[in-house]
């Protein structure tokens, strides 16, 4: 294909599904999983508690739960539900699983800091993400069953996962960042084409939270709360 041909393509040409079908993915996965999403809610609330506790095991458990959240939302939502209507979602799904594995590997290989976090700011941001972002799909679809929960929906999971940059050290952090950026760009472009304005908040928040996570990291934190 010539350069001029490529120029004749717009973002629209690459989105092969409509907003109604996409928003129903959230409703469908919630219906199919019920009542197991209670576990996702417990994990979302429990993770900051574990992260702030002193001790290696608590932090490992928290990071382990986030790793599981990456893998489950990747394999469940992206590969299982989104993949059939959008092929790139399958690639992202497996990348989410790999991200979970990467996080787990970092945890077992000393890639996770044990120093204390600035707890107030971290918990506040975490709770805003896991309690606030799920409602974006509800606002967009008008259906409360579309709640995009942490550990199930990829957008909320990636946004919360971005905050964990705070505890990942040097080289592991560089491996962890690309998916956050790629996913944010991909989903932002998709929501733009679908004109799903509420959903656009999630990728923007994810990029912001990568910055916030780096800022909250114990090494750079000036005074832990």
């Amino acid at each position: 294909m010539s350069g001029a041909d490529w120029l004749s393509y717009s973002l629209q040409d690459f989105v092969m599904f409509g907003p109604q079908v996409f928003l129903r993915l959230f409703v469908r996965i919630n219906q199919d999983l019920w009542p197991w999403q209670v576990l996702a809610v417990v994990a979302a609330i429990g993770i900051p508690v574990l992260l702030l506790r002193q001790g290696r095991n608590a932090r490992r458990l928290a990071v382990g739960l986030i790793a599981v959240a990456w893998a489950v939302s990747g394999y469940g939502f992206l590969v299982g539900y989104f993949g059939p209507i959008n092929w790139p979602a399958v690639w992202f799904g497996w990348a989410f699983v790999a991200q979970g594995v990467l996080l787990a590997a970092a945890m077992f290989s000393g890639g996770v800091r044990e120093a204390a976090l600035p707890s107030g700011r971290f918990v506040a941001l975490w709770l805003i993400v896991v309690c606030g972002l799920p409602w974006l799909a509800v606002a967009e679809s008008g259906q409360w069953q579309a709640l995009a929960l942490f550990g199930i929906a990829p957008g909320t999971t990636a946004a919360a996962g971005a905050l964990i940059v705070a505890v990942i050290t040097g080289p592991w952090r560089w491996l962890y960042l690309p998916l956050l950026v790629l996913w944010s760009l991909f989903s932002a472009a998709m929501f733009w084409v679908l004109q799903a304005w509420w959903l656009l908040v999630a990728p923007v928040a994810t990029l912001f939270l990568v910055g916030a996570g780096s800022w909250l990291s114990p090494r750079t934190a000036q005074s832990p709360d």
């Binding site: 041909d5 004749s8 393509y9 629209q12 040409d13 989105v15 092969m16 599904f17 409509g18 109604q20 079908v21 129903r24 993915l25 469908r28 539900y81 059939p84 209507i85 959008n86 092929w87």
Partner: protein, 311 residues
């Protein structure tokens, strides 16, 4: 005046109505003059006619495993068939649309009512047969009526195999597609050199570049023309639906914007069929309205184009 219906009269007329609904082709009028019969177009060089309005499946039928939406799209397809449509266009590029079409055809038991058209969409030129076979499994059809090389991707190799497949009776018609005005020069060269039954291209009241070269060439070479993006992917509605129809719309057999856009297209003498896509039963009814009634003549077509461009 009340008209008494006897049991005998009722049985005869309901039987006829049933036949009419089941086989709209039976009452087809190939000239498109009678208000009550669908506008049919002859496939150039063939003894076969197809309804001038078909349907596309890009985006609209890609609903994955969502049973609620599959059922809803099945109702869209049923409306299409009930109103006299037969030509359905798909592509392996359209995600789950082929599987959804297969499910819908199964539940309507409508495999014999469809003129099934899909595409070969792979850069691997040795994959033609394999991809056609995969598509026919997904649609649940024994063979396709029409196989088209999607956007000229690997067209040389695919076209050779498609010709053999046609000779063996594995497919009835073959063709090539483009859209959005892409690669028209190469498209025209292929139309000049190759023996094609159909070409598929973009044509609508705003995108009319094909009027200069490709449509006259199709007429000259006896190639059927399927028109994609008749509503410019829906943007014609977004731009013009709030505007009034011209007060002479009735003269050209038009009662809404969907009919306006579609009748403009199918009244071009080179066009065989337009394939609008929709996810809604109500929109399908509007679109299929263009399959009936009067068509604009050349002067009226010009007036239609001028009117839209003046808005």
């Amino acid at each position: 005046m009340a008209n008494r219906i006897t049991r005998r009269k009722f049985l005869i007329s309901s039987g006829l109505a049933g036949i009419a609904l089941k086989s709209p082709m039976l009452f087809a009028n190939t000239s498109g003059n009678a208000a009550s019969s669908p506008i049919m177009r002859r496939i150039p060089g063939m003894d076969e006619s197809i309804p001038a309005i078909g349907m596309g499946t890009w985006i609209t039928f890609n609903v994955g495993g969502d049973t609620q939406l599959v059922q809803q799209r099945t109702r869209v397809l049923k409306t299409f068939f009930d109103l006299g449509g037969t030509v359905v266009d798909g592509s392996p590029m359209y995600g789950s649309a082929a599987d959804v079409m297969g499910e819908a055809l199964d539940s309507l038991d409508a495999h014999d009512r469809i003129f099934a058209a899909t595409k070969i969409w792979t850069g691997d030129e040795s994959e033609t047969r394999a991809e056609a076979a995969r598509s026919s499994r997904r649609w649940g059809v024994e063979r396709f009526d029409l196989l088209q090389v999607h956007n000229l991707l690997g067209w040389q190799g695919h076209l050779e195999t498609l010709k053999q497949m046609k000779a063996n009776g594995e497919v009835r018609y073959i063709g090539i597609t483009t859209s959005h005005g892409r690669r028209h020069r190469e498209f025209a060269q292929i139309m000049e050199r190759e023996s094609l039954d159909f070409v598929q291209l973009t044509y609508n009241v705003l995108d009319h570049e094909v009027e200069d070269r490709l449509l006259p060439l199709a007429q000259e070479r006896g190639i059927g023309v399927i028109v994609n993006r008749p509503f410019q992917g829906g943007s014609l509605f977004r731009r013009f639906q709030s505007e009034p129809l011209p007060n002479w719309a009735g003269e050209v057999g038009v009662s809404n914007w969907a009919e306006f856009f579609l009748k403009y297209i199918i009244s071009h003498p080179a066009v065989t069929c337009a394939i609008p896509a929709t996810s809604k039963v109500e929109h399908m009814k509007e679109n299929m309205g263009a399959l009936y009634g009067a068509l604009p003549n050349a002067g009226q077509r010009q007036r239609m184009a001028d009117y839209v461009r003046s808005l």
